[in-house]
């Protein structure tokens, strides 16, 4: 079968299904007993299996088939969800993603999956062993009857074997149900007393709800324990009754056979629940709750073409404006003005069309954090806020790597190991918050962790060692300036080089990347409380407002976003400090940067020595510089173009643009000029 025409759909849909799967898998880890989640995963796995088999990707079909089996086992309670199992499942998920990627880039998706298939088989076999023992147990004759509607559930093999052994040795197994008074105020204390009494007389195997919940009073007024003892049950009952605020004690003999029966019942219950879920789903077809609005899928290439065409239009618009003002023809000017307004609106629409929610980037992070934290033996939760925040696609494509880097950094250097956190009196589980939001013409992305924070002294010491700053500067630096040193190249504070982030690359790549996108990174931190890495990004990269300036006969563009103001100063206002020329600008000493010298602009005209200089004050963070130019041309909307692959990393030039007259003007990267 020729499947090529379906390939794009296949890739799109499998990616979608894999995403659903991972979302639900994370969900499942939090609520291991929620059957509706398992159903969703099962369905995704099943669909994937079908699609990959149809398309002839056998390895993928095999793997999804095994995966489906495992989820099927979970679904019918033959298996219970455990952390180790989730690890395998996530591994499989990653493998599947890799396969889809391979297929998307023209490969066959064939990869060595034998070890994963083995692991899945083992998982599934584990299930089958359980089932067989269960069925044989049920085969035994027994006079046990189901004692209680809600009997203990989820006993593992180990617990069952203890219970069996105990009864063989002549102990009695009891299931004790304790009902507290409804007006009981200190439930945890009463529970504790019950436990204390019990522990004097025997051994508690399990409690329902678990002990943690009991301690935190996460239960109504009733709890159950499985108890092994030699004491007769009446005596136990008497002793327990003595505890005040206990209203009822029910002690029932418990046998493993009873348990099997109960399990059986549970299964039928589950079936009923499933039935119910099915009808629920019918009434609410879109369970994920996403708003359904009318949309069409448009190929990204088409949007890019539209954008390119529009950019051409912007260039011609500039040209028209120029001609109209030269001709001074009123009707022409009015028409051009109107066209400018309309194209302005058009620009907004096209730009919003290219906006995509940052969720695309964020969605893979929970998985990544989970994996990393397990590798590093840390307990970390990730909290994502504002995933629906929209950004231009060009920015989205670029922002992934820096974010991965910062998150790895937070996992590695930020969040402490559980024991250390306990010592500091913090919850063992660390939290990383990833938050995105719009503000003005910018998008902010914040990565907040509640970890160790940045140690000012350590950073300073390292920075001095590595020659990033001089010792004499150390004390005058503000905290924030010190923290930002970790973004300087050649800096890495990790004491132990780890796989995760200590690869000697450092956070300077993050800063370089963000700055190349026209954004900036700032850091705030508090010792033992945590750190905040904040990234500020422009909403779009392709069209921006600039100030055009002239040096000799060359035209340059300076992005408006970095300009504080322009000024014309008298030459005698220029001062000299440490052989550098500076000016006093509103109380600040600002160094002068002579663009003519920096850019080696050839002399064009013998223009007369003026007693005035035109300057453009630009900023980078808190620092400023005054760029000396010949004249200001004016403000304009321009389309950013790259200089191409051949000319990369030209000093102080971030790109180029095409002016109304068809000439190329270079865009000055002011960040490189402010020191």
């Amino acid at each position: 079968m020729d499947t090529n025409q379906y390939l794009a759909i296949f890739i799109d849909e499998s990616t979608e299904h894999l995403n659903t799967m991972s979302d639900y898998m994370l969900e499942l880890e939090k609520n291991p007993s929620d059957k509706s989640i398992i159903e969703e995963i099962f369905r995704a796995a099943h669909t994937l299996k079908g699609m990959s088999a149809t398309m002839g990707y056998n390895d993928m079909a095999d793997l999804t088939h095994k995966l489906e089996n495992v989820f099927d086992a979970i679904r019918y309670d033959k298996l219970s969800v455990q952390v180790d199992m989730m690890d395998v499942l996530f591994e499989v998920h990653e493998q599947l993603l890799a396969m889809v990627e391979d297929i998307a880039s023209g490969g066959t998706g064939e990869q060595d999956i034998s070890h994963l298939v083995n692991k899945l088989d083992k998982l599934e076999k584990g299930a089958q062993v359980d089932t067989s023992s269960e069925s044989s147990a049920q085969g035994e004759k027994g006079n046990a009857k189901v004692q209680n509607e809600r009997s203990m559930s989820n006993l593992d093999e180990f617990e069952l074997s203890i219970l069996n052994e105990a009864s063989e040795r002549g102990f009695s197994n009891y299931e004790i149900t304790v009902q507290l008074n409804e007006d009981c105020l200190l439930k945890a204390a009463r529970t504790f007393m019950v436990f204390e009494v019990l522990e004097k007389h025997g051994e508690i195997i399990k409690s329902d709800p678990p002990v943690n919940d009991l301690e935190e009073e996460n239960f109504d007024f009733q709890f159950k324990v499985l108890f092994i003892t030699k004491y007769p049950k009446d005596e136990l009952k008497k002793k327990l009754k003595k505890i005040s605020e206990v209203s009822h004690i029910i002690i029932n003999p418990f046998s493993t056979k009873t348990y099997k029966k109960a399990q059986e019942k549970l299964e039928t219950d589950n079936k009923a629940i499933k039935e119910r879920n099915k009808t629920d789903e019918k009434s609410i077809p879109n369970r994920s709750g996403r708003q359904v609005s009318k949309t069409i899928r448009v190929n990204i290439e088409r949007l890019d073409i539209l954008m390119n065409l529009f950019e051409e239009l912007v260039i011609d618009r500039g040209r028209l404006e120029q001609i109209a003002s030269e001709l001074n023809h009123q009707e022409l000017q009015e028409t051009v003005e109107r066209m400018t307004r309309v194209s302005g609106d058009l620009q907004n629409i096209i730009l919003t069309m290219r906006m995509v929610p940052i969720e695309q980037v964020f969605s893979r992070f929970p998985r990544m954090i989970r994996k990393l934290s397990r590798e590093m033996e840390k307990d970390i939760a990730i909290d994502i806020i504002g995933a629906e925040t929209e950004l231009d696609r060009t920015v989205i494509d670029e922002i992934g790597d820096p974010l991965v880097h910062l998150l790895r950094n937070a996992v590695d250097h930020g969040i402490e190991k559980p024991e250390e956190r306990r010592r500091k009196g913090k919850p063992e589980q660390g939290t990383i918050q990833l938050k995105a939001y719009h503000s003005g013409n910018h998008v902010f992305i914040e990565i907040t962790d509640d970890g160790a924070g940045i140690n000012r002294e350590k950073v300073l010491k390292k920075a001095i060692e590595n020659g990033i700053i001089h010792e004499s500067q150390a004390h005058s630096l503000k905290d924030q300036e010190v923290y930002e040193l970790i973004l300087a190249s050649g800096f890495s504070t990790a004491e132990v080089v780890s796989d995760v982030s200590g690869r000697g690359v450092g956070l300077d790549v993050v800063r370089t990347k963000i700055e190349s996108l026209g954004g900036r990174v700032s850091i705030d931190s508090e010792q033992d409380k945590g750190s905040i890495f904040s990234i500020q990004l422009p909403l779009t990269l392709s069209i921006m407002s600039v100030l055009l300036i002239e040096i000799e006969n060359e035209t340059y563009a300076i992005p408006l976003s970095s300009i504080i103001e322009t000024a014309i100063i008298e030459k005698k206002q220029i001062l000299s400090a440490h052989h550098k020329k500076v000016i006093d600008f509103r109380g600040n000493v600002v160094p002068l940067v002579f663009l003519k010298d920096i850019f080696n602009v050839p002399k064009y005209s013998d223009y007369e020595e003026d007693e005035y200089e035109s300057i453009v004050i630009v900023k980078k963070g808190d620092k400023m510089a005054a760029l000396v130019v010949d004249s200001f041309i004016g403000q304009q909307e321009i389309v950013l173009k790259s200089l191409g692959k051949y000319l990369q990393d030209v000093f102080a030039i971030s790109g180029a643009t095409i002016l109304g007259d068809g000439q190329v003007a270079l865009i000055i990267d002011t960040n490189a000029l402010v020191k």
Partner: protein, 159 residues
């Protein structure tokens, strides 16, 4: 595959000083008259700047300067040959574009060792075709990584 072979044989002949050079047609995106060039500060001396090539900002290399030849005033015959190799697109300024011809493989000989100038590095071979001596250029060498690095170093130094 016959197609590529044919394409490979088609070459553009251009003039640089007294010599005639050739590059394969498949690398050539077009031949342009001189456009206004915007100088890019802090780049190597043979990079004349960038031009607006129908909306694409394209770097321009002066081949005379690149080969260490004396530069001349640009004139009516001066052309820009747009070349793309490995996703890099640049324009070469040449004294004039002469011809498109078929160059059979057997006409090409390895470059003679005696030349010994800087140009030597960029020559893939020499062809003698009906008394015309054609020098076959190695485009990748002309745009080699080292040169890109050198460009970057220079720009950093000047910063």
């Amino acid at each position: 595959m016959e197609y590529t072979e044919l394409e490979d044989r088609k070459v553009i002949v251009f003039q640089l000083g007294e010599e005639e050079y050739v590059i394969p047609v498949r690398h050539v995106g077009g031949i342009e008259r001189l456009h206004p060039i915007t100088r890019v500060p802090g780049t190597a001396n043979y990079i004349k700047g960038v031009i607006n090539l129908r909306g694409v900002v394209t770097p321009i290399i002066d081949l005379r300067t690149r080969f260490g030849m004396e530069s001349i005033q640009y004139n009516e015959a001066t052309r820009i040959i747009i070349v793309h190799v490995n996703e890099i697109e640049v324009g070469f300024i040449v004294d004039g574009a002469n011809d498109v011809i078929d160059l059979p493989d057997e006409a090409i000989e390895p470059s003679p060792d005696v030349i010994g100038t800087e140009v030597y590095d960029y020559i893939r071979g020499v062809a003698n075709l009906n008394e015309r001596l054609l020098i076959l250029l190695d485009l990748e060498k002309i745009l080699t990584e080292q040169d890109i690095e050198r460009t970057q170093q220079i720009s950093r130094m000047e910063g």
